[in-house]
Symmetry: C2
Subunit: 806 residues, 2 copies
């Protein structure tokens, strides 16, 4: 390993001092950015916010990354795990000119610098994390734990890219981060790029030592090797010695990465390589490095008190003001910036140029690189439906075929992510074109059923956190991803969804220079209504409630009832940008209702009147029906139809309108969500005054919340899941939660006036049916045959026979 | 290490065969439990459910645990990480007699065995995980990832207890599990018990190899050592060799644990011990061990196809029926059970007796051991309040004092858990009595500010998953715990909350033999309305929406507006049992309104009429006010009061009633939640026809959902967080989301008819105030002084002056 020239490192140190100077300035200064006059209280911001602690360490890493980018002509991006230390990232992007190019008023002169410093963590301006406004950032770091999975997603299928991922030692304690070291089991050195983790041990969290900074060094080395990485240690506090050590480590790491990749790519066959031991760097440096050593006898540098604002009140305390001024001067800004406030050319030259700058690398504004998803013609996968409700099919299977061909048509830019359930969720057609990526050992039996490959497009790991992190990294660098998971355990990544939705919302409103990216897709399968043996723990349809808390601009929820509806949803949803699509569709066999053409019309509108199931002579009189039977979701739709059949047979005079909701947010107003139906359309479907029995997939109150402003809301009676479950047959679970056919019939009878004694008799029979079916299930372990084999029974032609099912 | 006698291991193997026989029986048989006649299709359940894969490995571990419990007289419980393999746990609890003691109809004879086998995963009966109905279980394993943190919580302050924790290799890939190996940094060998992890490498998840089973053995050993454990390897498939290896490993592990503990306890001073390298066992055995080798040429044993039901259809396929019968006979049940169906005495003797049986250990029914929480008199901590709304205090600080003294009064049975924020959340009074537990290295500077100790009652780690897991383990073994976290990141443990709530709900309804346990407490601090620099990522008050999806029997939500209300909430909430308490209270300084006595009355009712702020001559005429101003949460309460002050000054004729909600679920009906107010009480507070302007801490629709059935719901106008945030001053964030005083005044003016031109003028001034305050914030970085220093300004005495503030 060559030792880097001392002179070169002196310059690098000067660049680092410039970055640190700006970082301190961001936290404290609203004026006098170059210290061209003695520091006054008026120059200090009124409210001091931001995290100094990890900032100098991060700009140290950035400075050394610049060196190797230039020396090796690398394509590299930086992800800040401890994103709270944004000053350590913002300053470098200002020094390399990226910031001023995007925000011309933050120009590279004194006036621009003043605005750049003042805006930081200032009301109405930018945040103190690596928010979307930060050039070069694809990882905000507001929530901790996802930097390695984001980095991994970024380098998938980007063989020339290196993602330099700074892992905070606080962050490293989180579960998601702890398991994400295993990303190396999914990175192919031939066809993917490399992740270079820098575990930044600065010793402390907010007020505590960190675990990884305090365990014995040999344990830490053992841990990293156990995770499959080869650690390179850079430890100390004296800047020049640290520069030398870091330069050596970076050279070593880059050389190792390039050797590994060259070796793997020699044969040209990515299916024939093995997992290398990738390098990673342990950077152990003081928290608040180069900051004040102490305040009033209390240790600051190298202690947790440097976490945020080390000198809390220089505006009011003259002693602190003096300390701050000395601190700023310690970086010798006069040697770094010229009189106009521009970084001197000698230091400017240390940043790479153009798109090689980590503040301007296009991979970090992935929408720029994104190619439109090339979807195959969806009709190829359509399930034939001659009569609605006659045949069953696995709703998700055709989607698997669609994804298979999407992978074929978009080489190297589509990946499917799931914990362990691609086949369990009936998406196994994908394996016809691509297997599961797996860089570990193969056993002979894997050839017969494991569907593993060194270069698969499917990523399976039993960590929803890691998968979603990978998908996000993939999307943010301009590609297409699809995640599927169990419904109840979508909550595991609830906070990740929140953060991604907020990221998109911020991009739209605060960083319009970011080009739109592909949708965050989540197929929720293995749903609440089919948990025969997993039981109560696997019954939670509440993830869509969470989704409803985020802005309608960026969230979509779909509840297709059959295979063609799911295809039509996918066709629309997969091609949107800057949204999160949540698609709820169970994997089991379900009755099929709509042809693809009908399904497309259904999805286009969001709510469909199923006239083939209705007998209300729809369309002529908006308030004609006696009752509206609405449904959303596969099982609730089937139960609603079964109830309609009973009602039409038993009480033929009752006029029923059947509505099916496929876009959940069609229920709300257009002002709340772009899917929202106009009040006029809504009223014409749901009437303004008739009882509506709404059978819903999820917790019932979500429907009330969405329809709260609608004219007829007061007549909505919603059924849904209400935490009444255990080991139950499908019908029994439905009955326990009253979304079943029998209870729905009772609901109608209870809410439609004047049905007479016949209705009372029907109601009694429904109660008997509930008891009989429960007894049957408990005796025989399954639903009765007439329930299991139930099919929609076409009734005598109504006035509108022959009409389209929509 | 002594080699265990072959004869002893032969008997142990016979016991294991009995367990395996029962496990297979559970999955397949509804009759003919002892194979006393040839197996017929009628004996097979109609629907085959359950997980065979890890069951034999788990009963293998159990068999060997029984051996060391007896030989060393151990106090041991078993936690099943891969809880899906419940047959491997249920069978042992049946064999040791525990099951029949709790469920006498599942007696230890043929008839009881038939019922025992049939009930498994059968509609209306027990689930296929280690559900609450499972004797000896405190860990269902329905959701994966928490077995080590649960085990750690169980042994905290239980020095004689060993928690044997089976970690599934699929589970081991989850983030929560991956970081929870670090529990050893918090376990004191002198004062805590021991966790003995058994990493069960059976090679496969549902359809994939597992990472840890496929990485090189030296990497796995390195990983475990890096986590601080000393691995003992037990690997193979030949039963007798495996019994010998496992017996040796278990002896070795137990001896090592006892040596470590003896050494640590010798001096009698737990503050003076260091972290040992605890043993753990790697058990590598075939998936579906002892099951059929293959089916139709496809590998079963040792492959993922053994995950659930290896022979899928013996009821209809005679060849499979024959294979199943041979499989069952391979365990030689005739040698294991007598003619009545009882385990033969020689094998019965292999289980420990009484409470030493892992199916009957009282730690696993912790409510039995639980001592009532001894709370100090709460008035000691009360904040003096002479006039409401005049002085600020940190709302959570007195709670910290209460927790401090609760720790003192309940030695060894109260712990406080938080990511890194006990002081940040202003609970630092706790440190006066007890520090943060820390088994890692101490540095000199730790003496001056780190608050670390070998035997602290506070547990801090930057993993909400691990902390909540620890707390749950602590609660489930009969102790008291308190978790506090950032509001936005409560979503991180959303799924854990769901699972615990479901566990409690199941205990109440399906396992009444479980004694009630202490509440799952979560203080949500650092809330949405004070995120000056963390900004948008830290703004999400939706955790309480999630809570509202669970049964009202087990969930409580509190929104105390001041310090005394928080004390009164704590006094009530901490002493409940079998509930989850979610308490939302910001850590910053807030105005104080109620004396402790008033706060207690307020909490008792749940919603209070604050007559001191009202001018509607309350009590005489229920429908008297022109408008009801309701509020819930600290910041919304302050803004409501500020709006009321403006309205009373500017429009004195307007009759305003001020309501404050402290128990969120008081808003709903008593049928939905035990906190629910009767309709009569609700109507008398909220009126039946006047406009209600409700200022809410969270997302606004939650209030609509809760009040949906109330008479006056149609007149509710709710303000709350609606995802409009960035870097904002407190007032600006409130204004963006329209929960601020100015917007509230406008809301009232817009909704109360007949206020005249004066009101129109006030409305204009409010709009000007919004613009002026936003401009001030963007210019100066903070709110204007008159907003920051705002105090409730007592108005001229109203008719009811002198009345109690409630």
């Amino acid at each position: 390993m060559t030792r880097v020239m001392a002179e070169q490192l002196q310059r690098l140190d000067a660049w680092w001092r410039a970055a640190n100077y700006l970082a301190v300035g961001m936290i404290y200064l609203q004026d006098n950015p170059l210290l061209s006059e003695p520091l006054q209280p008026a120059h200090i911001k009124s409210r001091l916010l931001g995290h100094w602690g990890s900032s100098p360490g991060q700009s140290f890493i950035w400075a050394h990354a610049n060196r190797v980018i230039r020396s090796h002509d690398l394509d590299m991006i930086y992800l800040s795990g401890p994103g709270h230390g944004a000053p350590g990232v913002l300053a470098p992007t200002y020094l390399d000119g990226s910031y001023s190019e995007i925000y011309p008023d933050k120009s590279t002169d004194a006036a621009g610098m003043q605005r750049f410093l003042k805006q930081f963590s200032f009301p109405g301006h930018i945040g103190s994390h690596c928010t979307p406004e930060t050039p070069g950032s694809i990882h905000e770091g507001g929530e901790l734990g996802y930097v390695l999975s984001h980095a991994c997603g970024a380098v998938f299928d980007n063989p020339s890219l290196i993602a330099l991922a700074c892992v905070g030692d606080g962050e490293a304690e989180t579960g998601p981060l702890a398991t994400s070291w295993h990303i190396n089991k999914f990175l192919n050195p031939a066809s993917d790029g490399a992740v270079l983790p820098v575990l930044h041990l600065n010793g402390y969290k907010i007020a505590n030592p960190t675990l990884l900074a305090r365990i014995p060094r040999e344990e830490l080395a053992s841990l990293m090797r156990g995770y499959g990485w080869e650690p390179l240690f850079v430890e100390g506090s004296e800047p020049m010695a640290m520069h030398q050590a870091m330069a050596t480590a970076m050279d070593s790491a880059i050389n190792r990465i390039q050797e590994v990749q060259a070796e793997a790519r020699r044969s040209g066959d990515p299916t024939n390589v093995n997992r290398p031991r990738w390098p990673m760097i342990v950077l152990r440096s003081p928290k608040g490095w180069t900051g004040p050593a102490e305040l009033n006898g209390k240790k600051l540098e190298g202690f947790w008190r440097s976490h945020q604002v080390p000198l809390p009140d220089p505006k009011r305390d003259p002693a602190q003001l003096g300390q701050l001024e000395a601190w700023l001067h310690s970086y010798r800004p006069g040697e770094l910036f010229d009189e106009q406030g521009s970084l001197i050319p000698e230091l400017r030259a240390l940043s790479p140029s153009g798109q090689r700058r980590m503040g301007s690398n296009p991979h970090a504004n992935g929408g720029l690189l994104r190619r439109r998803l090339n979807l195959p013609p969806v009709h190829t996968y359509a399930v034939p439906v001659e009569q609605p409700g006659q045949h069953e099919a696995e709703n998700t299977a055709p989607l698997g075929e669609l994804l298979r061909d999407a992978i074929a048509l978009n080489p190297d830019s589509v990946r499917v992510f799931g914990p362990d359930e691609t086949a369990s969720n009936r998406l196994q057609a994908i394996y016809e074109i691509s297997k599961k990526v797996w860089m570990e050992e193969f056993l002979p039996e894997d050839l017969n059923g494991s569907e593993l490959s060194r270069s698969g497009r499917v990523v399976e790991m039993l960590s929803e956190h890691t998968l979603v992190g990978m998908m996000e990294g993939y999307l943010l660098t301009g590609r297409h991803g699809f995640f599927h998971t169990y419904e109840a355990f979508a909550h595991v990544i609830a906070s990740m969804f929140n953060q991604h939705a907020k990221w998109l919302e911020s991009c739209i409103h605060h960083a319009p220079w970011r080009a739109p990216i592909s949708p965050w897709n989540c197929l929720i399968s293995s749903t609440v209504w089919r948990q025969d043996h997993n039981g109560f723990t696997h019954q939670d349809p509440g993830f869509i409630d969470l989704a409803g808390n985020k802005s309608g601009e960026v969230v979509r929820v779909y509840l297709p009832a059959d295979a063609n509806s799911l295809l039509a949803v996918a066709e629309q949803a997969l091609q949107e940008t800057n949204v999160c699509n949540i698609i709820v569709s169970d994997k089991q066999k379900h009755l099929q209702y709509l042809t693809l053409e009908q399904a497309r019309a259904h999805v286009a509108k969001g709510i469909g009147l199923w006239s083939w199931a209705s007998n209300d002579e729809c369309g002529t009189e908006p308030n004609e029906p006696d009752v509206v039977m609405a449904c959303a979701g596969d099982i609730p739709t089937k139960e609603t139809l079964a109830a309609v059949e009973i009602l039409r047979r038993e009480i033929p005079s009752l006029k029923i309108r059947v509505l099916n909701v496929v876009k959940l947010f069609a229920l709300t107003t257009p002002g709340e969500h772009p899917h929202g139906l106009s009040d006029r359309d809504f009223d014409s479907l749901f009437t303004t005054n008739r009882p509506v029995i709404f059978n819903f997939h999820g917790y019932p109150w979500l429907i009330h919340r969405l329809t709260y402003h609608r004219t007829n809301h007061v007549n909505f009676h919603v059924r849904g899941y209400k935490e009444k479950g255990n080991i139950n047959t499908p019908l029994e679970l439905a009955m326990n939660n009253q979304i079943d056919r029998f209870n729905l019939v009772i609901d109608v009878i209870d809410r439609v006036a004047g049905l007479g004694s016949r209705a009372a008799h029907v109601k009694e029979r429904m109660k008997e049916a509930i008891l009989a079916n429960r007894a049957h299930a408990h005796e025989h372990g399954m639903d009765a045959e007439d329930v299991t084999n139930w099919r929609w029974n076409p009734l005598p032609a109504a006035a509108h026979a022959g009409e389209s099912p929509i």
